[in-house]
Structure formats: structure tokens, C-alpha cells
């Protein structure tokens, strides 16, 4: 999985550079996110702008990652693309996660 920390000021912005978060990479995704989130002091924004597809395994992995957030942390999503948004809507996970239009909007808003 290609995940990078893009900035670490108002929030830790983690960006995904993979087109798919699915059954093929769900476990690696969880493991990598765990490392990238461990020492984040507060808000964590996950930029999914390059992600084109998330299947049920990917969604389950995102829920697992959401649960990894510590007491002083948040795990919020940004820049969901078409088919990814659809999966969140179908499963009503768009009511569970804080989802921002993009990272700029996410950074401007109050913590979820």
C-alpha cells in the first residue's frame, strides 16, 4: 500500500496513492494505517482522492482503522470519489464516518 503523510499541522493528513482498497490489500492497509496513526496527536484526515474503488473488505478495513483512533484522535475521510461514495451510501456508512468534500474543507471544519 502506498500511503504517505502529506502534512502534520492542523491535522495529520494521510493520502492514499492506491486506486483500490479491496480484498487484495485490506490487511496491508490496516497494518500500514496503524503505523501511520500511532503517534498522531489529534485529528487524522484520510485523503481518498486517488482511490477509485473500495469493496466490502476495504470498507471493513476502514471501520477497523476508525476503531484504531485513540481518545484524543479522530479518523475522518476526505475526497471520496464516485463509486467509493456509492459504497458508503449503500451501506449507510456515510452516516458513521465524518466525510469532507476535500482535505481543505476538512482542515477548515471543526473536528468531527
Amino acid at each position: 500500500m502506498n500511503l504517505t503523510i502529506e502534512r502534520d499541522d492542523l491535522a495529520r493528513v494521510i493520502k492514499a496513492h492506491d486506486k483500490r482498497i479491496d480484498a487484495a490489500v485490506a490487511i496491508q492497509f490496516k497494518d500500514t494505517m496503524r503505523s501511520l496513526m500511532a503517534d498522531a496527536p489529534g485529528r487524522i484526515l484520510f485523503d481518498m482522492g486517488e482511490v477509485e474503488f473500495v469493496d466490502s473488505s476495504g470498507l471493513g478495513a476502514l471501520v477497523a482503522v476508525l476503531k484504531m483512533a485513540g481518545r484524543d484522535q479522530t479518523f475522518e475521510l476526505a475526497s471520496l470519489t464516485g463509486n467509493v461514495s456509492k459504497v458508503f451510501r449503500l451501506t449507510r456508512m456515510d452516516k458513521v464516518f465524518a466525510i469532507h468534500t476535500d482535505t481543505e474543507a476538512g482542515l477548515k471544519s471543526d473536528a468531527a
Partner: protein
């Protein structure tokens, strides 16, 4: 002016989950050629990803196998049939549509059940039968 009305794709998969990505790369364009609209192609990709992952992981237990996919245009619908030669579905029936109930407790959020929820949500006339040592799954989607 010609119309393509049927596509048959025989997939020989090596058992890895990544094979599903390759299969979608063939099947979605084939569905598009049969007249499936863009938004519907997105829904079909979601649906086929779940169905194919189930075949790879459960029917074939991540071993190599063949999946025969037929797609036929039927008026305003696209009818699909998937046949694999793997293990029978538990109790030889489709799982019921899960209820996804999200309470306020984050720690209690489910991490599974989404697949069959979406399959039931997106597929119409979904049916399964075990026949001659094969699994046959049928469903249709609107074009």
C-alpha cells in the same frame, strides 16, 4: 448499426484476490458494450467484486479455478450468470440480507456483512443453485 446482445467470458483465475481486479477489468467493459450505462457500470463493479471475491475465497478457497460468466441483454435489463466448480454454498442456499445496525458505540461497529448486504441491494432476481457439481448464481441489473 449493430447491437451486441450477449457476452460469454471464461475466466481462469489463479486464486489470488488480485485476480478479481483483472476479471473486473474485462467484465465491466464487456457490460458497457452490452449497453450498460456509466452509473450502472459502477454499481455492477461493486456487485461483481463481491460475488467474485466470494467465489475466490469461499468456493475455490484461494486455489486456481474457472469462472464462467455469461451476460445477456434482455430489454431494459442485463442478465448475468456465473458458474464456478468450487465448494457448495453453506446449506446450499444464499445467505439472507444482513441487517446493518449501527449503534452509537464505535467499538461495536461491524467490520463485515457489507458484502452480502450490497449483493442483495444491487442484484435483482438473485438466485443460486447447485447443479452437476457446479455453483450457478444468476441475477439481473437494469441498464
Amino acid at each position: 448499426m449493430i447491437a451486441v446482445t450477449r457476452a460469454e467470458v471464461n475466466l481462469v483465475i489463479d486464486g489470488a484476490e488480485a485476480a478479481v481486479r483483472d476479471a473486473l477489468g474485462i467484465l465491466i467493459p464487456a457490460a458497457r458494450d452490452l449497453g450498460l450505462g456509466e452509473d450502472q457500470c459502477g454499481s455492477l463493479e461493486i456487485l461483481l467484486a463481491e460475488v467474485l471475491n466470494n467465489i475466490v475465497e469461499h468456493a475455490y478457497r484461494n486455489r486456481p479455478g474457472r469462472i464462467e460468466v455469461s451476460m445477456a441483454r434482455d430489454g431494459k435489463d442485463l442478465r448475468l450468470r456465473l458458474v464456478d466448480h468450487g465448494r457448495e454454498m453453506p446449506e446450499s442456499r444464499l445467505p439472507d440480507k444482513p441487517t446493518l445496525d449501527y449503534g452509537p458505540e464505535m467499538a461495536a461497529l461491524p467490520e463485515g456483512g457489507f458484502g452480502w448486504f450490497m449483493i442483495h441491494d444491487l442484484a435483482q432476481d438473485l438466485s443460486y443453485r447447485r447443479h452437476a457439481n457446479c455453483n450457478e448464481l444468476r441475477f439481473k441489473v437494469p441498464v
